[in-house]
């Protein structure tokens, strides 16, 4: 196995705290949640395994015993489709195994009048995998309109909307560009004035001039 310190990107003289921080940063980077529905999921999982092993090895070495414990990664059960009662189980299995072209071929063969909410959801999933994100979103929206109570379709649409909002990279105009901290001068003044109002209600005073 490769040098566990190299895997975590720290020197072998790093403190326990530094090792833990490096491990956490990497675990966050390769966490399966970041790769849900990504065709690169298997590579990320491999990387995650490598990091876990490296961390466990270091902890074991340092404690001098085999069972490391601590911050271990709890495994991940892949997002399984609802399966039961699906009229497109073959399409679902093609998508799950990455055979996108085959899945699309079957979907395109379905006559227009037979295209139900699930059809739109699956077609959206195929488009999403291919990177045609706008049309994928349109199809998810349509699926949700046709079957508003379905959690699976709603989850797919929510994910697309979250990605568009800048939650997973990109630029979000409602969040000061590189400033992720929550407190600026404006917030401070606002807080002070609110606190003043509260004090006055109770008979006291925080800012004497107002």
């Amino acid at each position: 196995m490769a040098d566990p310190y190299k895997v975590l990107g720290v020197s072998s003289t790093a403190s326990d705290e530094e090792v833990k921080d490096a491990y956490r940063a990497l675990a966050k980077k390769y966490h399966p949640d970041q790769y849900a529905d990504s065709p690169l999921k298997d590579l990320a999982d491999e990387k995650m395994k490598e990091i876990n092993e490296a961390y466990d090895t270091i902890v074991a070495q340092r404690r001098g015993r085999q069972n490391a414990g601590g911050y271990t990664y709890a495994g991940y059960s892949g997002a399984s489709g609802s399966g039961g009662g699906s009229s497109f189980s073959d399409v679902r299995s093609y998508i799950a195994s990455g055979r996108i072209a085959d899945a699309e071929q079957i979907l395109n063969g379905v006559p227009v009048e037979n295209r139900n909410a699930e059809w739109y959801f699956l077609k959206g999933s195929v488009l999403y995998r291919r990177g045609w994100l706008e049309e994928a979103k349109d199809h998810f929206t349509r699926a949700c309109q046709m079957d508003p109570g379905n959690g699976e379709y709603q989850a797919a649409l929510n994910q697309a909307m979250n990605q568009r909002s800048g939650m997973y990279g990109g630029y979000n105009p409602n969040m000061g560009s590189m400033n992720t901290g929550g407190c600026n001068t404006c917030d401070l003044c606002q807080g002070m004035i609110c606190a003043d109002c509260c004090c006055e209600c109770m008979g006291g005073d925080l800012i004497p001039c107002c």
Binding site: K29, Y30, Q34, Y35, S38, P39, L40, L43, A44, E46, K47, L127, G131, W132, L133, E134, E135, K137, A160, Q163, R164, S165, G166, M167, Y168, G169, G170, Y171, N172, P173, S177, M178
Partner: protein, 308 residues
């Protein structure tokens, strides 16, 4: 490519910024050496990114050299040159230089057909100058020239199709970068990561360019993939009202965010190396910053406005 893929300087280490500049100079040098001095004007940030990515993947060995700048003989620049006996670095530079030339020539051909008269004459003049360079570049990397030719053809087909689809219009550029990036590695896993990175970066570049030109294209009645989807066709030939433009650009920003979200998973899986900091800066900070500058601050317009 259009110069949108560049670093966010404010968040860079000084040594990273210097290395970036030195690769930029190294690529300029390679352009002059392989494709003649007139081809130097084809130098771009996008191709610098490609050179850096290629050298990272091949773990190219480089060494810094101080030399006079070709454009300004009074200035001394640092060049990152291929280390003695390392063919892969020289190859990366040469490939990136060829990409500069080929992309620029296709862009000029495009300009000759649809931009204004002055720009058309300008494009024709530059196109004449690059004829020799283009011939040589296509001979050096025929598969690259073919990939770019196919991209332009597919793009034309998508843009003139009966129903315009944003995704279909973006696909040719996305697929071009997917092919170019995939070819940088021979390892199966790496090729998949690079392919995903290339696809979504290419898609982002095309859509960024379309978002950048949206208001101008609608005003001048030119094609834009977003125009129909966002219901802007009725404003054809006139300036967009401020609130309509704002809403349209916020929508473009959302489309770009969605694209970067898909690219991010590949960025984390890129193999590590000497340029990791620079690559992550460009992809994770540089691209969102361009969205901010162009769609929210309108930096370009203000700059042009002043110069008039």
């Amino acid at each position: 490519m259009f110069g949108y893929v560049r670093p966010f300087r404010g968040e860079m280490l000084v040594k990273e910024y210097e290395a970036y500049k030195a690769v930029y100079c190294g690529l300029c040098d390679a352009l002059g050496k392989h494709y003649g001095r007139f081809s130097r004007f084809a130098l771009s940030y996008d191709c610098t990114f490609y050179a850096i990515l290629a050298m990272q993947i091949r773990s190219a060995r480089l060494c810094a050299e101080k030399k006079c700048c070709t454009c300004n003989p009074l200035k001394k620049c640092t060049y990152l040159c291929p280390a003695e006996g390392d063919g892969s670095a020289a190859e990366c530079y040469r490939k990136a230089a060829a990409l500069c030339v080929i992309m620029t020539v296709y862009k000029l051909r495009d300009n000759m057909e649809d931009e204004g008269l002055l720009k058309r004459i300008d494009a024709r003049f530059l196109h004449g100058l690059t004829k020799g360079a283009m011939k040589k570049a296509s001979r050096d990397f025929p598969e690259m020239a073919e990939a770019v030719r196919k991209m332009t053809e597919d793009q034309r087909a998508a843009e003139t199709a009966e129903t315009v689809s944003v995704d279909r219009c973006a696909a040719p550029t996305a697929e071009l970068l997917e092919t170019l990036f995939t070819d940088l590695s021979t390892d199966g896993g790496e090729r998949r990561v690079l392919g995903q990175l290339g696809y979504f970066l290419g898609r982002w570049v095309y859509l960024m360019d379309a978002s950048d030109d949206l208001a101008k294209d609608v005003e001048q009645g030119r094609f834009n993939p977003f125009a129909e989807r966002l219901g802007l066709a009725k404003y054809r030939g006139q300036a967009l009202p401020e609130d309509v433009r704002k809403a349209a650009e916020a929508e473009c920003n959302a489309v770009l965010n969605g694209t970067l979200a898909r690219m991010g998973s590949a960025v984390s899986l890129l193999p590590g190396g000497q340029f990791t900091g620079i690559l992550e800066n460009i992809l994770k900070l540089g691209l969102p910053e361009i969205q901010r500058e162009i769609l929210f601050l309108h930096v370009k317009e203000k700059r042009n406005g002043r110069s008039v």
